[in-house]
Symmetry: C2
């Protein structure tokens, strides 16, 4: 017994000394069906397997990863540093080519469809697929007069939406970050399962979530809709008068998106879904750039929005509010959040100042996360229960 213990201890010590990763690898939940790699271990490392028989060098875009080496089976293996819990975009590098990992599912982020991997979080239960009543994620196309284009969006309708067709619902307009698009919240954000689970536990009121493309500040120019049936005719441009949207660059000027949202999208949602189409029953939130858009647009349209959520995207300070009496009357909730590994100190102070001024303002810090989706999934989970309470 003592001998065995000693061996185990020395084995542990050896692992610590040589920094060998823990050998409890499991396939990532972000893998394509049936794919054994990439794998994640209990430390939060990711291990890749890449079949590239003739390659000289193989790697990935995670910084500080191990050297990739050929295994006995001729495939390349390598692993990452310790990563935070949650969701991370990446690409493989094969002889200098940056390509998606053929083993992973694909997500839109960093301005492209590419690979991503999920490090299981201790609190992952709140966005897990469970046997509870499910809402629907609806892919919609609508014609935007302001831009003369067909625009693409997603709408989450809560469980039971199709059952009682007299019931009407409030709406949360929920925006993605820079380099992301309208697919983000429904896909990697798990907005639908977060809402389904909150609703099953009676922790939030049911509401509709509308998710639009908010622009790409990094775009060099035109851009097609993504994660959607591509417009078959647009290569010729001849047989599709109202073709798919050619999206302009934004450069953090949000006025084009503001027009699309206020003049086209909100009226479309209100005319297509059973919404309660008034200011008290309309919220806006967003992450990163989407948070900045939320601040800019809600402050300019307090007649349209009552609940405001800014996730890792700044905050609302007293100096941003030109008419405090109106703001107090109109803004029912101001929610601001950051990951603990971001610098949220100024935002937290602003929230406190708002609260001192009599605004219902809430600050949330996501434990041990940075400027990534785990912070924003948690932010939605914290924000939703504050909405439409009266």
């Amino acid at each position: 017994m003592l001998l065995v213990s000693a061996l185990i201890l020395s084995s542990d010590a050896c692992i610590a000394q040589t920094n060998e990763p823990a050998n409890d690898w499991k396939p990532a939940t972000t893998n394509q069906g049936g794919k054994e790699y990439p794998q994640v271990n209990s430390e939060g490392r990711v291990k890749f397997r890449v079949v590239a028989p003739e390659a000289k060098t193989v790697g990935c875009t995670f910084r500080d990863s191990s050297e990739f080496k050929k295994g006995d089976d001729g495939a390349w293996y390598g692993y990452t540093r310790l990563l935070d819990e949650g969701f991370h975009y990446y690409m493989l590098k094969i002889d200098g080519a940056e390509v998606p990992d053929p083993n992973s599912l694909f997500f839109y982020g960093a301005g492209r469809w590419g690979s991503a991997v999920e490090i299981p979080a201790k609190d992952r239960d709140f966005y897990a697929l469970k046997d509870v009543p499910h809402g629907q994620l609806r892919e919609i196309w609508y014609f935007s007069k302001s831009s003369n284009t067909n625009r693409h969006a997603f709408v989450y309708t809560p469980p039971g939406y199709d059952k009682d067709t007299r019931k009407r619902y409030p709406v949360l307009y929920l925006q993605h970050g820079a380099g992301e698009d309208e697919t983000g919240w429904g896909h990697q954000g798990h907005a639908g399962w977060i809402m389904d689970n909150l609703l099953a536990e009676g922790k939030t009121k049911p509401f509709i979530i509308a998710m639009e493309f908010g622009g790409n500040p990094f775009a060099a120019g035109a851009r097609r809709p993504t994660n959607a049936p591509p417009a078959s005719a647009s290569a010729s441009g001849t047989n599709n008068a109202a073709g798919p949207e050619r999206r302009p660059a934004f450069n953090f000027n949000f006025s084009a998106f503001e027009h699309a949202l206020i003049d086209d999208f909100i009226p479309y949602i209100d005319s297509t879904f059973r919404t309660i189409a008034d200011q008290p029953h309309r919220a806006m939130a967003g992450l990163s750039m989407g948070g900045m858009q939320t601040r800019t647009i809600t402050l300019a349209h307090l007649d349209k929005f009552s609940h405001i959520g800014v996730f890792s995207g700044g905050s609302i300070g007293l100096t941003n509010i030109t008419d405090m009496a109106t703001f107090k009357k109109k803004a029912k909730v101001v929610f601001v959040s950051y990951g603990s590994k971001e610098n949220g100190a100024a935002a937290k102070a602003n929230v406190e100042a708002l609260r001192q001024a009599g605004i219902n303002s809430v600050y949330y810090e996501s434990p041990e996360t940075a400027h990534e989706w785990q912070s924003w999934r948690r932010s939605l989970k914290e924000f939703a229960p504050l909405l439409f309470k009266d």
Copy 2:
């Protein structure tokens, strides 16, 4: 003038002799937003650009493609043979690694998420995005008792479904092929836009389309749902009792899918959507393996289905029908189709025999296409107007 003409003629002749591709390349409609490559030309070739600075060899999975060579910008260029009109799956090959093209959108086919390219077809207008009323493509999750899993499906609801909430609709159950999944018809199949356009022209009755995963006969074993938020908890398997479906191998035994469809999916659709839940208002169709499933399942359940569509997946012969009197009474339409580059002769003869026997049976041949999506998009376009006419 004569000299110029002569030069042009000799230039043309030269092109023909050396088999140089036509130099009218345009970005493919299947590219990610803003990506200039892959490009397609008027001949139906695809030209790739691959950034792989250190690679020794670069290519693609299209057979008979040109050699890929480094261009002046250091990127690799190569092009394909003449391809048929329509949609083709492919992957890049970089020093022996088969990887998705980082420039293309991703589609599920050939048993994996990977790249695809669209060769514009002369008749592409029927599946183009137009400024017409649009239906919705709804992503749904439902609990299947027969398999004790959460199952993933898509449902197309026609334009106006949410407007008149007293109206009820027939349902077409529409299946993908082997190596594909429930995302195929809504994504590369353009089922939604085909229906939107037919409806806008008054060429079909409105109906719901329900699209389920029909199994993967090539699967080595378990398989996670795809194109859907992955189950965050399944890596540990501890906090998600009713976890995502572990899909069994089928090996062209359709009984598991038959149970899922008949016992779980149809009842779920009928209880969740405003269907007309009877045999005269229920159709089934599918492509390739989905066509075989359609034949097997409709013949075994003529009490449930009245309209039958088999696209590139065999046909129904007189010998398949055990009780002709019942079949005549129950089967309102038997539609069978093949691409002209497939061998549809036996199917065509079977359709003619059914017609002689007094069955409303229709054969359609898709011009100049093979066992690919262009055949099946056209088949849906031809089949839909035949449905639910009385």
